[in-house]
Amino acid sequence: MYLKAIHQNCSGCGACRLACAIANFNEVRPARALLTIEGRFPGPGDYRIHLCDQCGACAEACPEGAIAQVDGVHRVIPERCSSCMTCVDACPYGVMMALPGDQTPSKCTRCGECAAICPREAIAVVETRESAR
């Protein structure tokens, strides 16, 4: 499964970010969310959802081989990570996160909680990465 952003459905409420942080870090702390919502105001007056589609650019960029694909999900292997944060710069969507206080970057685990909580079906779960584009 893959996550697909349906931007025009998004109202910027941020429930997805809060659910993400709770599910992945066990904290009521949206600053640790692994996806972002960009509100473009006053014009053009819309929202853009930035999330991971497991494209693997982070893994390709990692000089340590510290990002491995497991069941279609790219995961950071902390013991291999040198904290160079090359992957953060390499992410085309800006969602490889260097979170304050963390030694290693964090990324989407494809847990699906963002899609599950979204009341507007702005994040869909699809079968293939191609259809998530």
Partner: protein, 637 residues
């Protein structure tokens, strides 16, 4: 400083900013305050009661501006984005509060404080920046004079797009008594002149960014309760039906049942409602739905309008703006209503009071009570140029704007000649979007709302027009209601309906969540009991929460008694138009409530509340509500 570790749900801190001395300090949130007043509106009322020097001018440095979140603000549940603002009102001189949605309150909590208290006055135009633990007062000369929307954009560009920003416009800087505080390019704490108080403190903006976490007893249980609430609310019949048009969707119903303010509340039906309703917003303006924090049913419709006077991006118009500019000022199209909405947002003026003030001024002009020479041009209903001309002068108190910036009560006092009869307000706060001469309970709700003529405290049109409480969506979609003759003998139950609603709706303002899911969709109260328990670790029944809401209600009454000399029953009447002029046409033609009926309603209301015949809470009532200090303050008998 040791934080109270048992205050789950809260951040646990109050941030105090002394603008006169440029000092910032934090203090722990008092556990007793949290338990007895919950948060939001409760915190505002208690802090104002305790700390506001009695009898001060609202624009003096001694006035306080309290910004408070609630225990549920910022947590995962439907619509947890509410922030409450309170002060001594420039509009009424009494207790004032106003709230807004958006994202500011949650950010304030994530930054580590539940409450922000501003005191004193900055020596020069400034803004306050809160970045987690850092809080500092910064110069804002470069923002002063800018529109509220423009200043928000500029400040976000300067400090970061991830900051949540509040701003005032020129109206706040010029102390227009109904200036608002703006946020997120379209949300406002609109009422009671909150923005003018911020302006009087020389504060143009507040920017906050928070990266912290909120404590809950068990994250998994709170998460499960939140997800269940989202799932359950999505099952309500109104869930999908409400969102497309939001509050604008009730325009047709209000018009058809004859409660739509029209031509300065002269009548209650507008023939052009199809051109200014929710469908028009959808088809002619909307770009996107724009939601407050964690809101599954966003009221905000963000769009673009084009008129002969210009074009603009604007959030809205929502129902109240449609009622006051589309109905009361008779603007003929949704594009023109939206442009007036945009002007108000940029100038930093409450659209409700502005629409009421302008419609009053136009009626005065038509009657020859304000001369063209004083205004500077002819003004007319159904004319966007008249509206824009007046708004721009009001915002900077230029010419006629200086008079109108005072609000209808003060302006009518100066103009005289009977203009007080159609200056539509209670306590000095202009009336909102429901004409109630055919609705005795709703009339009583307006008369007794603590901040003045605002529907936010009680909305009981369902009782008046359909005979029972029902969610707004169910009421409208069922086609119930309709212009019904008010009972020849008005019933004592009216008072009970109003009081129940005055405890229920403001309870959400204390919890820090939007009431829409409950009121408009009928989302059941037991969900809030569960969420409150999972988030705070404290078990409170709905009835216990309502008891706290009653405590807050009595306290806000006491604040106004303390602040306004002679305050009492005389402050609880509508203007004479509403008890002496029958509605001239439309579905409610011929209806009005006589002064005798209003007196009867007030008598029942005071009795049911445990207040005396002058509307003063008795000592026994205040003690029953756990307010001995309030009884002492007013020498209650």
């Amino acid at each position: 400083m040791k934080k109270n570790k048992f205050l789950y749900g809260y951040s646990g801190w109050i941030l105090r900013v002394d603008l006169t001395h440029g000092e910032v300090r934090k203090e722990p949130l008092d556990e007793d305050l949290a338990q007895r007043y919950l948060g939001g509106r409760g915190f505002v009322a208690k802090l104002l009661f305790d700390e506001l020097p009695p009898g001060i001018d609202p624009f003096s440095a001694e006035n306080l501006l309290v910004i408070a979140t609630g225990p549920l603000s910022g947590h995962l549940l439907p619509s947890s984005g509410k922030t409450h603002f309170g002060t001594k009102s420039p509009a009424t001189g009494g207790y004032a509060d106003s709230n807004m949605g958006g994202h500011f309150g949650p950010a304030l909590k994530y930054a580590g404080q539940d409450v922000l208290v501003l005191s004193g006055r900055a020596a020069r135009p400034s803004y306050l920046l809160i970045d987690d633990q850092k809080a500092e007062i910064r110069p804002a000369q470069h923002l002063w004079g800018q529109g509220a929307l423009s200043a928000e954009k500029q400040l976000k560009t300067e400090v970061g797009e991830d900051f949540q920003v509040l701003t005032i416009g020129p109206a706040g800087e010029h102390r227009v008594r109904y200036a608002c505080i703006s946020h997120d390019f379209g949300r406002q704490a609109g009422r009671t002149g909150i923005g003018a108080v911020l302006g009087s403190k020389n504060i143009k903006a507040i920017a906050v960014r928070g990266s912290g976490s909120l404590p809950v007893p068990d994250v998994a249980e709170a998460f499960a309760a939140g997800k269940e609430a989202f799932r359950k609310v999505s099952e309500k019949t109104g869930f999908k039906a409400w969102t497309p048009e939001g509050t604008a969707g009730i325009t047709n119903w209000c018009n058809e049942v004859g409660v739509f303010p029209t031509r300065n509340f002269k009548t209650s039906f507008a023939g052009h409602s199809a051109r200014i309703n929710g469908k028009a917003v959808l088809e002619r303006l909307k770009i996107t739905d724009k939601g407050c924090y964690c809101c599954p049913t966003p009221c905000g419709k963000y769009g673009h309008t084009k008129t002969r006077m210009g074009e603009a991006y604007v959030e809205g118009p929502e129902y109240e703006t449609i009622a006051l500019f589309g109905g009361n000022c008779l603007l003929p199209s949704i594009e023109e209503v939206a442009y007036a909405n945009y002007l108000c947002d940029e100038l930093g003026i409450d659209t409700i009071s502005a629409g009421a003030v302008i419609s009053w001024a136009i009626e005065c002009f038509e009657k020859g009570l304000i001369a063209e020479s004083r205004i500077g041009r002819p003004i007319a209903f159904a004319d966007l140029e008249s509206v824009a001309y007046l708004l721009r002068r009001i915002a900077v108190r230029d010419g006629i704007g200086d008079l109108l910036a005072e609000g209808v009560k003060r302006a009518a006092r100066e103009i005289g000649q009977g203009s007080e009869c159609f200056a539509i307000h209670v306590k000095g706060l202009e009336w909102t979007g429901y004409e109630t001469r055919n609705a005795p309970a709703m009339m009583l709700a307006y008369m007794t709302a603590d901040v003045g003529a605002h529907h936010s405290r009680a909305w009981v049109l369902g009782h008046d027009l359909a005979g029972a409480w029902t969610s707004v969506h169910d009421l409208i979609s069922s086609g119930r209601g309709g212009a019904k003759q008010p009972p020849a003998v008005i019933r004592p139950e009216c008072a009970r309906y109003v009081i129940d609603s005055q405890h229920t709706r403001p309870l959400f303002d204390a919890l820090g969540v939007c009431r829409l899911q409950y009121m408009e969709l009928g989302f059941e109260e037991h969900h809030y009991e569960t969420l409150f328990h999972r988030i705070t670790g404290r078990k409170l029944s709905w009835d216990e929460m309502l008891g706290i809401s009653e405590r807050i209600w009595n306290l806000t009454r006491v604040i106004s008694i303390r602040e306004i000399p002679g305050f009492g029953r005389a402050w609880d009447y509508p203007p004479a138009r509403f008890y002496s002029e029958p509605i001239p046409d439309g579905p409610s033609a011929g209806y009005f409530l006589s002064k005798e009926k209003l007196d009867q309603l007030l008598d029942w209301y005071y009795q049911a509340r445990g207040w005396d015949a002058n509307g003063i809470p008795t000592r026994a009532t205040l003690l029953r509500c756990g307010l001995p200090e309030a009884a002492e303050a007013i020498g209650a008998m």
